[in-house]
Symmetry: C3
Subunit: 332 residues, 3 copies
């Protein structure tokens, strides 16, 4: 059984095929998702809120004649205990060892959103909750953003770059850290990094001191890059990196050192206001990307988001097409 939990579980060439399929589906040249998903049910379980994810999966399934069931944990549904060996005398009424296989019985595919707890960076990198669903669901499990990765976003990002650049191999990708008001998880930057690496791009990560991504994902990206003859470069010179880029991917994330020191994190955000991306950061043909939701005039200046080089709405639309390609292959 195939799952879609981590870029690390799949080969770049296999994922490149999904991206190609997604582009054919978008152009109306393939009905593979319709054939694979008609009459099928996707159960989606949300531990955290969502706009694009929920709407793109639900609209995509409907478009193919399938159906998506959306459950909000702790809202519509019971809170779920995900740790093993815990006497359940607290807030959680249900354990993942029951919830996962039961939902697997109702649906053909199971998708889960479960953000990083942001208490312990190593535990977040192990991705315990989504891996428990993988273990117990008895069905293909799809990661709708977990503690460590957001691979559906990464796949849509890859597709968007392919679509806009024609080919991605050797093109310059800059992942550019941005300030915020609260420390966000690193799932999106991890997946953007892995997508760019799997797509064969030259990668630069620009961030202030203290905001390194998880070594596990940096190493995998570098390994894929070495196989292509490229490198993954890390810099604090944001403007220098962005100016030469084919793609600037703006994104905020928190520093793991300050997981238990929100004051220090907030002060550092306040000091880093000049990391906000502006039209001046971009070359004349540089694409501006962001996973959304984006905080205007904080992460990215409004003028940049309204610029013709900005492709964030296409990125969001491509979530639907990339996910349909992936679901079709998982359901096959």
């Amino acid at each position: 059984m195939k799952h879609w939990i981590s870029f690390l579980d799949h080969s770049p060439s296999a994922m490149a095929e999904w991206v190609e399929l997604a582009m054919r589906v978008k152009r109306g040249e393939s009905s593979e998702p319709q054939r694979a998903l008609k009459g099928r049910t996707l159960v989606m379980l949300f531990f955290n809120p969502s706009l694009r994810t929920r709407a793109s999966f639900e609209a995509g399934m409907a478009r193919c004649g399938g159906h998506a069931v959306c459950l909000n944990v702790g809202g519509d549904a019971w809170r779920i205990e995900t740790r093993d060996g815990v006497r359940m005398d607290g807030d959680c009424a249900e354990h993942i060892r029951e919830a996962a296989p039961v939902l697997g019985r109702y649906g053909d595919l199971l998708a889960v959103r479960t953000f990083a707890a942001m208490k312990n960076a190593e535990e977040d990198a192990r991705d315990p909750v989504i891996r428990s669903f993988e273990r117990f669901a008895g069905r293909p499990v799809i990661n709708m953003e977990s503690a460590a990765e957001h691979p559906c976003q990464g796949l849509a990002d890859w597709m968007t770059m392919q679509e806009k650049l024609g080919a991605t191999r050797g093109r310059r990708f800059v992942l550019s850290w941005a300030p915020h008001i609260k420390p966000l998880p690193r799932a999106v930057p991890h997946s953007a990094l892995l997508a760019a690496a799997a797509a064969g791009m030259e990668i630069t990560i620009a961030h202030p001191p203290g905001y390194a991504l998880d070594p596990k994902f940096l190493e995998q990206a570098a390994a894929w890059q070495r196989a292509e003859g490229g490198t993954v470069r890390v810099t604090e010179d944001q403007r220098g990196a962005c100016r030469q880029a084919d793609v600037v991917y703006a994104k905020s994330w928190g520093a793991t050192d300050w997981y238990d020191d929100p004051t220090a994190q907030r002060e550092d955000f306040a000091r880093r206001g000049d990391w906000m991306v502006t039209p001046d950061h971009l070359g004349p043909h540089t694409l501006l990307m962001h996973c959304l939701p984006v905080r205007r005039d904080l992460e990215v200046v409004s003028a940049a988001l309204e610029d013709s080089r900005c492709v964030v709405v296409d990125q969001a639309e491509n979530r639907m097409w990339a996910q349909l390609a992936m679901l079709a292959r998982l359901a096959a």
Copy 2:
């Protein structure tokens, strides 16, 4: 591209056609909605709660072989900033300039519920949020109750009167203010007024001093009425007006002068208990209407709601049929 945002954007004759279509659909004499909506997706975005609206749209789309995606802003989905030029360092994670076009990419039609803020009557009358969706969605936008109007309700009300009275031209419509425990927005009375005017009815609005409706809608209703040779009359003599009516439409709304003085509003409600509609207000063939939800024994006495002259459940049912006709025309 056609939208369904305001009665003021459409001609009475065009809307009368939708009402006729809705009645044919209800009687099973037209499958136009099935043809137009099969395989289509309606994305519904709720900034406020709903029972009839959500259920009638979702059941209606399903009935036609289409699908409705329901998103609750601030619940399932991120809170959305609707003002321009705001540095987004507060509660809202997402801006309407991204949210609207993204949802437009996932669906064929976009419906939005966004109640009046009730801080500033003039701003509510301009209907800034739904007009931003119109501007940015890239798809037909449907108003599921905005700051200024509830045109889906108005359309269903028109259909209900047509259905029950045979013809509406020249019949006597009384919009009768009712007390409540909190000041409600004026979107429903505005749309009921406009629907009755577009349907060519003789209109009387009965309310205590201080509860005038927005001049913009009063003037449009009067203009449509003059074209028919009729008038829009405003009175404080509720009983006198109701006794001769073909239709009494009971509805509570708040006084704009007390938007920032809840105590004065509450005291006035308490003083106006005798504005509650009772069976004695109605003539032997007067229809009693209300948009629901209705507060029993506060806005309308229970005995009136259980009377055979009360058509509130038909009104609510007609939401589904009127909306299907409207959706079919927008999607065509």
Copy 3:
């Protein structure tokens, strides 16, 4: 019009037929639900949270080409007043006398979840809310757990026992009380008891003093049992009862005497820790059942839930099949 509100409204032989149909549907030997539910809409109204119920109904309807609309009262939708003759000047914006018939107009079937208030045991046993929906909806009403019963769970339990035991007549069913952290309603134990009685099983209920089930359901179970030549036995000797059982159904519920004394209830739970079911309670072929959600290491020890004798996930899956059989018969 048929409803599915209480085991007491149906004969054991009629319900046995539904169970047989559910098993044929599960094995792919009957397409009766597809024929009955294609293009139909089930409106589901939740006054309380749900995982299995929501997902199993929604996935089941989708599987048959129908659609389920899910509404959360007090969340997505308005709070609903269910008492008659109340001046509605409080939290509830809507009355069941309007909400029920309106939802009946949008859907073909109406399902309601409304937990026991647990203020007054006699009132809970009369099941006022679900009976009001029955009275006002104008459509078949389905009980998705009410104050008094959870008949969809009971039907799935019956089907699971039939499936696992081959035949149920004369087999030994033990309903075994379990401790918890808060007093749960008695709807599930009532329905499990009635299902086992209707299935012709020998019944023992094991609970500490003070936890008697409602006399109305005990008497009906005993009456069905007498017709079969059996009895309903109540005991405090949990281990003795379980050891000889074909089925142990573990379940916690609260003592009606302590509805207004949470401290006494909590202290009694704490004293009854040894009522937690362990693998030692079970004979070599005893099936372990629970309706889920189950609190691990509080109601049932983890090792028992992971034992091959535990069938809780099959029970949950069978919710979908049993409900499809029931819906097909109600919609016919």
